[in-house]
């Protein structure tokens, strides 16, 4: 009965969403204030209904109600309860429900935190979000209903895919989806501004915190996904350039460009058309990601659920949403003013260059991801594009982006003076040079690529430290925006150092080991002590004991216990790698198949992965930076009503006193 109520609530929410998509917008066109004012309550009502349906499905999972097809296919009575809850998004139908639920969270947040926004803009924004919501609800109800009954009920569920039985699944999809769906807010604001013909600084100001929060979630979600793949899939890699990973990286790259471009639009009233295009692109790429994952149009390690019929629905929806947005863009963008003039050496220049490079990188990733599909569609054959393409194309584009992060953060708006930037470049330049030479000497191997990678990471990191230290010394107030930016930049620097380190210094050995055998990587000795059988709640496992010693010393510094799990409901054995994380490196062991001989031996993967913890630390720093910047007090201050098209100069005037995005000119050179 409850399940039917959930289904019913979902149908009701579709009706409310359609109303939300139409009525407030009609109110804007007819200048009917009453109709416009329905936007907020409708958005809240729609979310409540979806939330109810979501809760009903959670209850069905927790109660192991196997009379529901979806529950019986993705859960099992033996499953620990956190996984029962997370199993809701372990399949296609539930993932979509989570998508719509989170879209409701964002819509409601917009409805609640937009008290100072003009009513007609609220109506437009929430209408756009209502339309998106309608599309997804219609998709769920027509092709992917999670509330379908199974009669007679199954006595036991088929269990959650063992690959997904991991703490990573509990949080990775909700975080990633929060990021994906959050891009809909920036999108809705952009579309609303295009419709109203008010692409002004107010619009940019409103979009900024929302985009930052969505970016933060997306960053966290991608980081979690990478971490999950690294230790759960047992392949020892943290990024595979897999289509689904690319699907999350593309919106992230565009969103990164967007948060910087929005800044220019807010402060200087420039790049408006470009910013709007980025906002549309960020959400379109999120939708494209959904299409790629859910339609099975590309093969991927993530292809849990693929179905061409569903693919057609998403494709049509994608074509409608993105096609109409870009049409609107083509129609309205030419009317947008060009904004304030800028000097060749100015913050605008650096941000524009970064924006263009990030967009180029996105296109390169998009091309690589879709190239096999395009070639296949043209009947030119089948091929796949692998990491070599992406590494070759992506890295050179990132080098100037990372290099310009430092002068970009230092330069003033409109016209910067070389003499003002220079003092802040000298210290990071020399510090990075010494650091990168020292680090690569210490790691015992040098080439130009390694030096450049270490240098770039250190360059950004030292610059961030210096700028924070300089401000602290001057006794200047540090706003959330400023600290957030520096932390996020520092985080990226740490990721760059980590990527350089792990790419160049990792050692991977696939070996066969019997009890008592030892293998040595770097200065670590791995000795197989034994393999025994253990039992888990819903699996049996073989667990190996591997003792690690370092250098000449006999004392065991760490005992690793990789497992090979056989889930009761699945024929596929699962590899549970055992990883010892230190400050500088991971030691990674996974247990493979038993190889029979006179004495039993096992195939084992033994990896020495330096710098991997740096990747996760860097992502966490970026997330922290994103949060600090999102909750800057400035965004909570009321916006002056006159702060519109002509507000560019006004905001410039406000800038030096009100916020600390850029460094005031150094009166005394530092270095």
């Amino acid at each position: 009965m409850l399940v039917e109520l959930g289904h019913f609530a979902l149908i009701l929410s579709l009706l409310v969403a359609i109303t939300q998509g139409v009525l407030p917008l009609a109110g804007v066109l007819k200048s009917n204030a009453l109709w416009q004012s329905t936007a907020r309550p409708l958005a809240l009502l729609q979310w409540s209904l979806v939330a109810f349906a979501f809760a009903v499905l959670e209850v069905a999972f927790l109660q192991s109600d196997f009379s529901v097809v979806y529950v019986s296919e993705h859960s099992n009575s033996l499953l620990p309860w956190p996984y029962k809850m997370a199993a809701l998004w372990g399949g296609h139908e539930g993932s979509l429900l989570l998508w719509v639920f989170l879209l409701g969270v964002w819509s409601s947040a917009v409805a609640m935190f937009s008290k100072t926004l003009a009513q007609d803009m609220v109506a437009r924004v929430l209408s756009v979000m209502g339309m998106i919501s309608s599309g997804f609800l219609l998709f769920i109800l027509t092709t992917s209903n999670p509330f379908l009954r199974l009669l007679p009920a199954a006595s036991e569920g088929q269990d959650l895919n063992p690959l997904l039985q991991d703490p990573g699944l509990v949080i990775h999809p909700p975080m990633l989806y929060m990021g994906y769906v959050g891009m809909s807010v920036a999108f809705a604001f952009a579309i609303a501004a295009l419709m109203a013909g008010r692409l002004d600084t107010v619009w940019a100001r409103w979009s900024r915190p929302w985009t930052l929060v969505a970016w933060t979630f997306l960053t966290f979600g991608i980081g979690l996904g990478s971490w999950w793949a690294y230790y759960e899939l047992g392949w020892g890699g943290w990024w595979f350039w897999d289509p689904v990973e690319n699907a999350s990286l593309m919106p992230w790259l565009v969103a990164t460009a967007l948060i910087h471009s929005l800044m220019v639009t807010e402060k200087r009233g420039s790049f408006k058309a470009w910013t709007v295009l980025l906002a549309i692109a960020a959400f379109s790429l999120s939708l494209l990601g959904t299409f790629l994952v859910r339609s099975g149009v590309l093969t991927s390690v993530h292809a849990f659920a693929s179905d061409p019929a569903r693919g057609i629905f998403i494709l049509v929806f994608l074509a409608l949403v993105v096609g109409s947005s870009l049409t609107l863009f083509a129609w309205r963008a030419p009317t947008v003013s060009l904004g304030s003039p800028m000097g060749l050496l100015s913050r605008e220049t650096f941000l524009l260059a970064n924006s263009v490079l990030l967009s180029t990188a996105t296109l390169a990733v998009l091309l690589g991801t879709l190239y096999p599909l395009i070639i296949d569609a043209l009947k030119l054959g089948k091929l796949s594009v692998g990491p070599p393409y992406f590494n070759v194309v992506f890295a050179p584009l990132m080098v100037p982006v990372i290099f310009m992060m430092v002068p970009g953060a230092l330069a003033r708006w409109r016209q910067a003076q070389w003499s003002q930037i220079k003092p802040f470049l000298i210290l990071p330049f020399f510090a990075a040079t010494i650091f990168s030479l020292g680090l690569s000497l210490w790691m015992g191997h040098q080439d130009a690529g390694i030096l450049l990678g270490f240098w770039l990471g250190a360059w950004v990191a030292f610059a961030s430290f210096q700028q924070i230290a300089w401000r602290a010394k001057q006794g200047l107030r540090m706003s959330g925006s400023f600290l957030g930016m520096q932390l996020a930049h520092l985080g990226l620097a740490v990721v760059v150092l980590g990527v350089t380190g792990v790419k160049n210094f990792e050692i991977e050995r696939d070996v066969r080991m019997g009890v008592g055998d030892q293998v040595t990587l770097a200065q670590y000795h791995f000795k197989l002590i034994g393999v025994k059988e253990v039992r888990g709640p819903n699996y049996k496992a073989l667990r190996a004991q591997v003792d690690v010693t370092k250098g000449e010393s006999e004392s065991v510094i760490k005992t690793l216990a990789p497992e090979k799990r056989y889930y009761l409901s699945s024929t596929m054995p699962m590899t549970e790698a055992s990883i010892d994380s230190g400050f500088m490196q991971d030691l990674y062991v996974s247990l493979g198949d038993v190889l029979n001989g006179d004495t039993p031996q096992w195939s084992m993967r033994v990896y020495y992965k330096p710098f991997v913890p740096w990747l996760w630390a860097g992502v966490l720093l970026m997330v922290l930076g994103g949060l600090l910047a999102s909750f800057d007090k400035r965004y909570r201050a009321p916006i002056l009503s006159g702060d519109k098209e002509e507000g560019a100069d006004q905001s410039l005037g406000r800038e030096s006193s009100h916020n600390g995005d850029s460094l005031p000119v150094a009166s005394t050179p530092l270095a």
């Binding site: 058309a273 295009l277 549309i280 692109a281 379109s284 299409f291 339609s295 099975g296 149009v297 590309l298 093969t299 061409p308 693919g311 057609i312 494709l315 994608l318 074509a319 993105v322 096609g323 870009l326 049409t327 863009f329 083509a330 129609w331 963008a333 030419p334 009317t335 879709l370 096999p372 599909l373 395009i374 296949d376 569609a377 089948k382 696939d510 070996v511 066969r512 024929t571 198949d593 190889l595 029979n596 195939s603």
Partner: protein, 225 residues
């Protein structure tokens, strides 16, 4: 008022949609083999049981399956019971290609001579077939994987259907399932056999060629190791 440059994103997107739409109708997992309908590459390889060499020429006139396998291959273990049941039920001979049985990891303790490789491969394969059942009429040892390359082996297991004239007519990548065998392989086998008998190709009498598909006992002359 519309300027051309602002239409660029829309145009690019529409092109993308067309490709996505076409791509949706194609199966990304389907990998066509350029060898379909061409003569199966010839070879001569030692058989597992050591009764001399085998060449596909010897099977001219029969419709047979050529199955790539190895004891180290995890998916083969999944596929194996399907093949064993198939061999018992249907009269289609299956020839195994033991593909790169000796892996680089076997040579951890120094390089092995060809002789020791052969004997290790045989020992391991015998044991494996004893344990899991033997669906093969015979198996050949492709230690260096050259025959595999000629056949365009993409991953183990793979299965080829070869007709009476020695042409490859079908290829399946990955473990075969009972559905694949029933819905794709057997209809094609029947068609090919019919085709062959109407063409009065020699040696087409199907039953005459059938060997008992019971698990074979191992020749005692091959002592393990």
């Amino acid at each position: 008022m519309i300027q051309k440059k602002f239409l660029i994103p829309l145009v690019l997107f529409l092109v993308l949609v067309v490709f996505l739409g076409v791509g949706l109708r194609r199966d990304p997992k389907e990998i066509p083999s350029p060898l379909i309908n061409t003569a199966a590459p010839d070879f001569e390889l030692p058989t597992l049981k050591g009764e001399g060499n085998f060449s596909p020429k010897a099977y001219l006139g029969r419709v047979w399956l050529f199955n790539v396998w190895a004891t180290w291959c995890v998916s083969c273990r999944e596929e194996h019971p399907v093949l064993v049941a198939f061999a018992k039920r249907e009269g289609v001979p299956i020839v195994g290609l033991s593909y790169k049985e000796i892996q680089p990891s076997d040579e951890d303790k120094g390089p092995m001579s060809l002789e020791s490789k052969l004997s290790l491969a045989r020992a391991r394969s015998f044991e494996w077939l004893k344990k899991h059942g033997d669906p093969y009429q015979l198996s050949v040892l492709d230690l260096d994987g050259r025959v595999g390359i000629n056949y365009g082996v993409y991953g183990v297991p793979e299965t080829y259907l070869i007709d009476t004239k020695g042409f490859i007519r079908y290829k399946h990548i990955g473990p075969v399932t009972p559905e694949v065998l029933a819905q794709e392989v057997m209809p094609l086998v029947h068609e090919l056999q019919k085709e062959a008998s109407t063409n009065s190709w020699p040696n087409t009498s199907r039953n005459a060629e059938l060997a008992p598909s019971t698990p074979q006992s191992f020749a005692p002359s091959y002592a393990l190791k």
